[in-house]
Structure formats: C-alpha cells, structure tokens
C-alpha cells in the first residue's frame, strides 16, 4: 500500500474538517441541481395537468422497452458506484478501479440505449420543430410533451456524460494510488454526483414513459 501524505489543504485544521467541507460543497451543488431540474419538472407538471389527454397519448409513443432497461442500467451503476466508494474508504486500490470501470460502462450503455431511442423518435417523427408529425388531436400539446421529453432527457444525458468523465478521472487517480483510505474524498464526492444523476432518472422514467399505458 502506498502512503502519500494525507493531504490536508492549508485552510483546514484537520482532515475530518476538510472531509466535511468537501461533502457539504457537493451537497450544496446538488441542491442547485435540484432547483435546475425542479423548475423543468414544474413546467412539465403544469403542462401535464393542463393537457392530460394529449400528454397520455404522447407518452404512449415512448417505449418502456427503452426506458425500463435504461433505468435498470443506472440502478446497476449506482450499486457498483457505492461499492467503488466503499473500496476507496477501505483504501483498496484495485477494487476501487474494478468497480469504477463497470460503473463507467453502465453509464456508456445508458447513453448508447438513449441514442438508439432518439433515433427511433426521429424515425417516428417525434422531434419537435425539426421533424414532428402528429395524427391525433391536440398536436400542439403533444409536441409540447416532446419538447419537455427532449429537454429533460437531453440535460440528463449531458449529466451522465459529465459523470462518465468525472469517474474516468477518479479511476485514473485511483489507479495511480492518489486515492487512499485517508484521503478518498475525490471518490466520495464523485459518487454523490453519480447517485444524484440516477435519482433524476428515477423521477423522469415514470413521469415521461409511464403515463399513457392504462
């Protein structure tokens, strides 16, 4: 086991204080993310209760066979992420990297499925403004649903992409022995972000995919 100095930055008295500050900082950032997605979900909720039939009909055009497995993929990634952070806490370098790699692969898998789904949406003419065709009534309201769908899932996919980048950096640092039991905050904070991105999807999935089936 390598033992680089437990780096306490000069503004902190103890490692414990630094640790708490790191975590608090990430939670503060996540709070702003909640406001960010919350505003959009508020728009969605308002529109959905204004045009319930159009939204149900539009949601019916999304495939649970894409969204469902993708939810499962993200839940798997959260599980391996939790195990990676645990390995970091215990200073297990190989286990840390060994759990980060599947986490990254699950993230990539999610994006690949999402890509195929967007392609299907394009083929079925469900892309607002760009390529949209609606046969039923309330075409404008259905289009609004797809605006919200693309903005919400697009921003979420952006977060997944950033998360993959962050986890790749953590994996490289871990591999180089820069993350130790004493100083594992990089992994812990990245884990908080990743789990948050999973939680966003946990809400998006029923809101977007599951309202038109009964």
């Amino acid at each position: 086991m390598s033992e680089p100095t437990p780096a306490t930055a000069h503004q902190f008295e103890t490692l414990e204080q630094q640790r708490e500050s790191d975590i608090l900082g990430m939670w503060a950032f996540l709070a702003t993310e909640v406001l960010f997605f919350g505003g959009l979900i508020m728009c969605y909720t308002f529109a959905r209760f204004s045009y319930p039939q159009a939204f149900a009909a539009a949601s019916h055009h999304l495939y649970v066979s894409y969204g469902g497995p993708n939810t499962a993929i993200l839940l798997c990634s959260s599980f391996t992420m939790a195990l990676a952070v645990r390995a970091a806490q215990l200073g297990q370098r190989k286990a840390l990297v060994g759990f980060l790699i599947p986490t990254i692969l699950f993230g990539l898998g999610f994006l690949v499925v999402k890509g195929f789904e967007y392609r299907t949406d394009y083929v079925e003419q469900l892309v607002p403004r760009f390529r949209f065709h609606w046969d039923g009534p309330e075409a404008g309201h259905a289009e609004l649903f797809f605006w919200l769908y693309f903005v919400l899932t697009g921003l979420h996919a952006l977060h997944v992409t950033i998360g993959i980048g962050v986890l790749t950096i953590v994996a490289i640092l871990g591999w180089r022995g820069r993350i130790t039991a004493q100083n594992h905050m990089t992994a812990e904070v990245a884990g908080l972000y990743w789990h948050f991105v999973d939680i966003v999807w946990v809400f998006l999935f029923p809101l977007l995919y599951l309202i038109g089936h009964r």
């Binding site: 414990e16 649970v64 469902g68 839940l75 599980f79 029923p206 009964r214």
Partner: protein
C-alpha cells in the same frame, strides 16, 4: 478519522429493493387506478430516491456521525 464503512450486504439489499421497486412501478402503470396511478408512481419514485440518498449517498451514517459529535470547530 472515523470513516464508517457500510457492509457490502447492505448495498446489495438496497440494490435488490431498487430493482423490485422498478418492476413494481412498471407493473402499476399498466393497471388502471385512475388518479392513483400518478400517486403510486410518485410514491415509488420517492421511495427509490430515499433508499439511494439514505444508503448509497450515506446520509444515514453521516447523521449518526453528526449526532455522535465528532466536530472540532
């Protein structure tokens, strides 16, 4: 330095619970419960978020740490 480590078993149990809840939320969507469909979907989503926050994001043990009073400032 008191990093509390959660047992792997706990993470596995939460993972299984999340997958079961995912199955449940899909299943419930195909049953007509009227306005309760929305309530059920959101209740399950909140429950899943709670499990992730409490265990995966380690808020549960962070609270224990906080209340045991290891603060130094």
């Amino acid at each position: 330095m008191s990093t509390h480590v959660v047992p792997t078993k706990t993470y596995a149990a939460i993972f299984v619970a999340l997958m079961v809840l995912l199955g449940l939320t899909v299943g419930v969507a195909y049953i007509d419960l009227g306005p309760l469909n929305f309530a059920a979907a959101m209740t399950i989503a909140v429950l899943k978020a709670f499990l992730i926050i409490a265990v995966f994001m380690d808020v549960r043990s962070a609270q224990k740490r906080g209340s045991s009073g290891s603060r130094s400032c």
